[in-house]
Every structure is written in structure tokens, then in C-alpha cells.
């Protein structure tokens, strides 16, 4: 039909807020449709017209055996597999359930004596790359529309898109925000991976590291600072792990 890349969208356990970001591209999505050949996107279209995909976008985390099979099948049919949204990248907010409970407890607490029922099955939340190889990540909860567009454009031109590896503070400074630490509010900006345009601090609310951290975050320094502000270890861990980031300090 055309030599435009065949693109498909799939979702697993998530809030589908990231595909909403794609839908929210408004007029841009119409232009986008000129660039790619959208062959599968269950939420907006009926039908799947392709056996193979040039690019498969995966949203959501993996929480049960039956999902693994579906995911592996998609992987086999896709040239390039993109994990988009924090749920897909590392389990995102769904990972909270791994931190606080053993899976037996979770199931018991929720389903009581019927927890054996197969369709209610669950296991600790996994990011997509814990099941199949991921070629590209688009982090964020939800994803940033501009970043998504940039990646699609770069892929269409045959480039390998790269994620920023600097903290959110960079983008926060560019916006000339008043740093939240000046107001006595703890912000994860110095550890968190930029790319969101520092949207939370720009709206007066601390960064929660929903895009994960930079490659080499200085967690020790953060702990020092939180100490200075009289935060307890528990509070520190809570603050940092909201979106699946491991709060531990390197010894």
C-alpha cells in the first residue's frame, strides 16, 4: 500500500492516559497519520489489518501470566518495540503493590477464598522489558506529547531517538520558576529525568519523578538534604518510590 511505517498501539494494565495523550494531539494527529500507517489502535479503531508491525507502542504494565503471552506475540511480529508511559517503562504506579505486600497477601486481601480463580490472577507488576526486549522508552505518567511526537518524527527519519539524561531542574530553571526548596517544599527534580518541561514545579507542585531518575542520580545527596529538612527515612522512601523508583542509597 505505502512505504509508511506500520504502527500499532497496544495496552496492558494501566489507566490508558498515555494513549489519551496521543488522542489529545488534536490537529497534529491528523498530520501524524500522514507519516505513519496506523494499523491497530483498539481504543480508536475497529479492526487489525496487519500481521507485522514496524513500530509497536506498548502501554501498561505486565501483571499476570496471560499478558506475557500476548506481549511476546506482539514482540515477535514487531520490528521496533516502544514502551511508552511509565507503567510500560518500569511498572509505574502499579509497582506500588510490589513494595508493600507479598502477592499472596494481595490476592487474599482482595479476593478472599476465591483468589484461586484464574481470571483474577496477578503477580508482582513488571515493566515491559522484564518480559521482552524493548527498543525505545518514552517515560512519564502520562507521557509528554511533544516528546512522543519528537520520537515518532525521529524514527520516521531513521534516527535513534535519545532521552534526556539531565534532571528536571534544568527545565525548571529554563522556565524561571521559583525553586520549591525556597518555599520549603521537597522536590525530586534534582534526581528525576527531564523531558516533561518541569510541568509539576511549573504548576507549583513538587516533582514526583514520574519519568524515573537520570542514569546516575545522586540519591545520597538527596538523603542528606531531606535529613536537613527533618524528613524521616520512611517519608523519604515513600516520596521517592511513587513511580517505581528504587529509593535505596548507594553505600
Amino acid at each position: 500500500m505505502s512505504d509508511k511505517p506500520k504502527v500499532a498501539f497496544f495496552d496492558f494494565a494501566c489507566c490508558e492516559g498515555c494513549q489519551l495523550q496521543v488522542a489529545n494531539l488534536e490537529e497534529d494527529i491528523i498530520k501524524l497519520l500522514d507519516l505513519v500507517d496506523l494499523v491497530e489502535f483498539r481504543e480508536v479503531m475497529t479492526g487489525s489489518t496487519s500481521e507485522t508491525y514496524d513500530i509497536a507502542f506498548i502501554e501498561g504494565s505486565i501483571t499476570r501470566k496471560s499478558d506475557e503471552k500476548r506481549l511476546k506475540d506482539i514482540r515477535e511480529r514487531s520490528k521496533l518495540l516502544v514502551a511508552y508511559g511509565q507503567c510500560a517503562v518500569n511498572g509505574g504506579i502499579n509497582r506500588l503493590k510490589n513494595i508493600w505486600h507479598s502477592m499472596d497477601d494481595v490476592k487474599k486481601c482482595v479476593y478472599g477464598d476465591d483468589s484461586y480463580m484464574p481470571h483474577l490472577d496477578t503477580y508482582p507488576t513488571k515493566g515491559v522489558d522484564e518480559v521482552v526486549k524493548v527498543d525505545l522508552y518514552i517515560p512519564g505518567c502520562p507521557i509528554n506529547r511533544d516528546e512522543f511526537l519528537r520520537m515518532v518524527k525521529e524514527l520516521s527519519l531513521g534516527k535513534i531517538p535519545r532521552l534526556p539524561n539531565h534532571p528536571v531542574c534544568v527545565e525548571c530553571k529554563l522556565k524561571e520558576n521559583i525553586c520549591l526548596f525556597d518555599k520549603g517544599v521537597i522536590c525530586l527534580g534534582p534526581l528525576a529525568r527531564a523531558g516533561c518541561g518541569a510541568i509539576c514545579p511549573s504548576n507549583g507542585s513538587p516533582c514526583e519523578a514520574c519519568r524515573g531518575t537520570v542514569d546516575n542520580p545522586n540519591k545520597n545527596a538527596m538523603h542528606e538534604i531531606l535529613d536537613k529538612y527533618n524528613y524521616t527515612v520512611e517519608e523519604i522512601k515513600r516520596t521517592i518510590n511513587l513511580f517505581g523508583v528504587n529509593p535505596e542509597v548507594k553505600k
Partner: protein, 307 residues
């Protein structure tokens, strides 16, 4: 930021960032990831000196600093060898003959071939370091009478990664120069380690799978003992290679009593603008793109971590 004033956009005729157009005239794979390119400018010669580099670009993909590996020329052609490592270099690799690239340059310092007249030259080239060094080697060979002894040491990872194989053979044959080469290993499995690169050109791999390497094996410093007496007063060493090579090469040269002002290096750093503005290539107080890439070692030896 409220922007109230109407914005005026003008065309700059003289921007330092504006590339010229060059056409790809010849392209030849050398190793599975290094390709030889010959470009031609439209109406003038690049005008470079040995050791200089140029910024090569493709609109929408990006720009990358690449050394010119041909000696200064009067025609509009110049040669490069480009290793496929990322976005820009991959895009250049996929160009067809007749397609075009953007060129800015030449930039940077060069090997002081004029000043070295009357001296002996000792080239020490590791891997892709042969590429910039070749411009000086060829220049010296073209002006053979201007120099006393010329010795060339070349080392690379394995036989399939040798560059300019034909020229290496020629140099080996010449009796007016000394040429030694070595490979770190004859085991081609290093390719497999690098298997994230697609081995689009398997030629040398297949060739060396069936052939046997008869020359030296070992790191490049194992070639030093083969050299006859090198007079440290009249010899200048030109060293180009991967970051790890410099330290050991310089140690050996010091053993041969070459002083730092007789050691000339070409360094590589992250580089964006090529014209001393963007700050990426700065090592301490020097800008590699302008103060380098070619340095006398005594000018930079005080810098920790320079090599």
C-alpha cells in the same frame, strides 16, 4: 515570557554554522563499520592542512566532526573514513554516490608539516587514528625529500579492522620508509562482541577467517623495540589513536628520550560547533576544536586527564 514585539527573521549570509554543499563521488567499505568516502566541493578546494577536520552534516539528522584523511589537494576532492557509531555516521553510511552532504570547515590545528621539514617523523597510529594521520603520512610521502627518516607504526584490534589495506601493503614494500604493523588479536570474535552493529560488509571478516595472519600480534607498543635507533633530537612523533593508546605510546617515547615538545598528538572530544563557542570540547583551558585537535604534548601535558 510575554513576547510583544513583532519578530523579525532575517537570512544570515555569513553564518559560521552554515554548511556548504559537497557531493559524494566515491564510497567504499573498508571494514564492517568503517567506510571510505570521497566528497567533492562545488567550486573550490577544501583547502585543509593535514590533521584538520570538517563538520559533515545531513539536514534533519545532524552534524559530526570528521577528520580529513587525504593530504592537501588542489582539486575539489577530499577523503574521509567514517566509522558507523550513531545517528549521523549511520546516515552518512547509507548515502549513495551522487548524494550530498553539508560541509563546514576545515577547522582546527594541523600537523606542522612545514616546521617539521628536515626532521625525522615517527607515526604511531592506533585503529581509526590512522585516518587523520594518513593525511600527514601521505603529505610526507609526497614530499619525501623534505624529511629524514619516516617510520610508521600501525596497530588495530584484529586483521579485519585494518584500514587502507592496499596502502599498508605499499608502505610495507617501500624501502625509503619503515613500516610495522600489528593486531591486538587474530581472534575475530571481537566482531561478535560488537554485534549491535550490523555487519553490512563482511568482506574482511570472511577473508581473515580463511587466511592466516602472519605479521605481528600484540598491542602497538610491542612494535617499538623493532625500530632502529631513533635520534630524539631530530625525531618528531605523531601519535593518533584511541584514548587508551596515548598514555602507553608516550611512556615509550619518553623511554626513547623524546621530549614532550617532540611529541605531537591529535585528540578527540565531544564537539558540537567546531568553532570554539559551544564549550563541549573544552579540556581545562583549551578548546580542542580551535587550539587542537593537533597539539604539541608539552603544551598540554600539565593537564590531568588530557590523555
Amino acid at each position: 515570557m510575554a513576547e510583544t514585539y513583532p519578530h523579525k527573521e532575517v537570512i544570515e549570509k555569513t553564518s559560521i554554522y552554515l554548511p556548504e554543499v559537497a557531493t559524494l563521488r566515491e564510497k567504499r567499505p573498508m571494514t564492517p563499520f568503517d567506510t571510505y568516502f570521497s566528497f567533492e566541493l562545488r567550486d573550490h578546494s577544501l583547502g585543509h592542512r593535514p590533521g584538520q577536520f570538517a563538520e559533515i552534516s545531513i539536514p534533519g539528522i545532524g552534524e559530526a566532526p570528521i577528520s580529513v584523511s587525504s593530504p592537501p589537494a588542489t582539486d575539489n576532492r577530499f577523503e574521509m573514513v567514517i566509522r558507523k557509531v550513531g545517528t549521523v555516521t549511520s546516515a552518512i553510511h547509507s548515502l549513495e554516490v551522487g548524494e550530498k552532504v553539508g560541509v563546514r570547515g576545515p577547522y582546527g590545528t594541523s600537523f606542522p608539516m612545514e616546521a617539521l621539514k628536515g626532521s625525522s617523523l615517527l607515526f604511531i597510529c592506533g585503529g581509526i587514528g590512522l585516518v587523520p594521520a594518513r593525511s600527514a603520512i601521505k603529505y610526507a610521502l609526497e614530499h619525501r625529500d623534505d624529511y629524514k627518516n619516516i617510520s610508521i607504526l600501525f596497530g588495530c584490534k584484529d586483521p579485519a579492522q585494518r584500514l587502507f589495506v592496499d596502502e599498508l601493503e605499499q608502505w610495507k614494500q617501500r624501502d625509503d620508509i619503515v613500516f610495522y604493523e600489528t593486531v591486538d588479536t587474530t581472534d575475530l570474535s571481537t566482531y561478535l562482541e560488537m554485534s549491535h552493529m550490523d555487519l553490512s560488509y563482511r568482506g574482511p571478516v570472511d577473508e581473515w577467517k580463511s587466511k592466516k595472519w602472519k605479521d605481528n600480534v600484540g598491542v602497538i607498543t610491542t612494535l617499538f623495540p623493532k625500530l632502529d635507533y631513533v635520534d630524539p633530537r631530530e625525531t618528531y612523533a605523531i601519535v593518533v589513536g584511541p584514548p587508551v593508546m596515548y598514555k602507553f605510546a608516550i611512556m615509550n617515547l619518553h623511554d626513547m628520550e623524546l621530549s614532550d615538545d617532540h611529541i605531537i598528538l591529535s585528540l578527540e572530544r565531544r564537539m558540537k560547533c567546531g568553532v570554539g563557542k559551544c564549550g563541549h570540547c573544552q579540556i581545562e583551558d583549551i578548546y580542542v576544536c580551535q587550539d587542537g585537535p593537533v597539539f604539541y604534548y608539552n603544551d598540554i601535558s600539565y593537564i590531568k586527564g588530557v590523555i
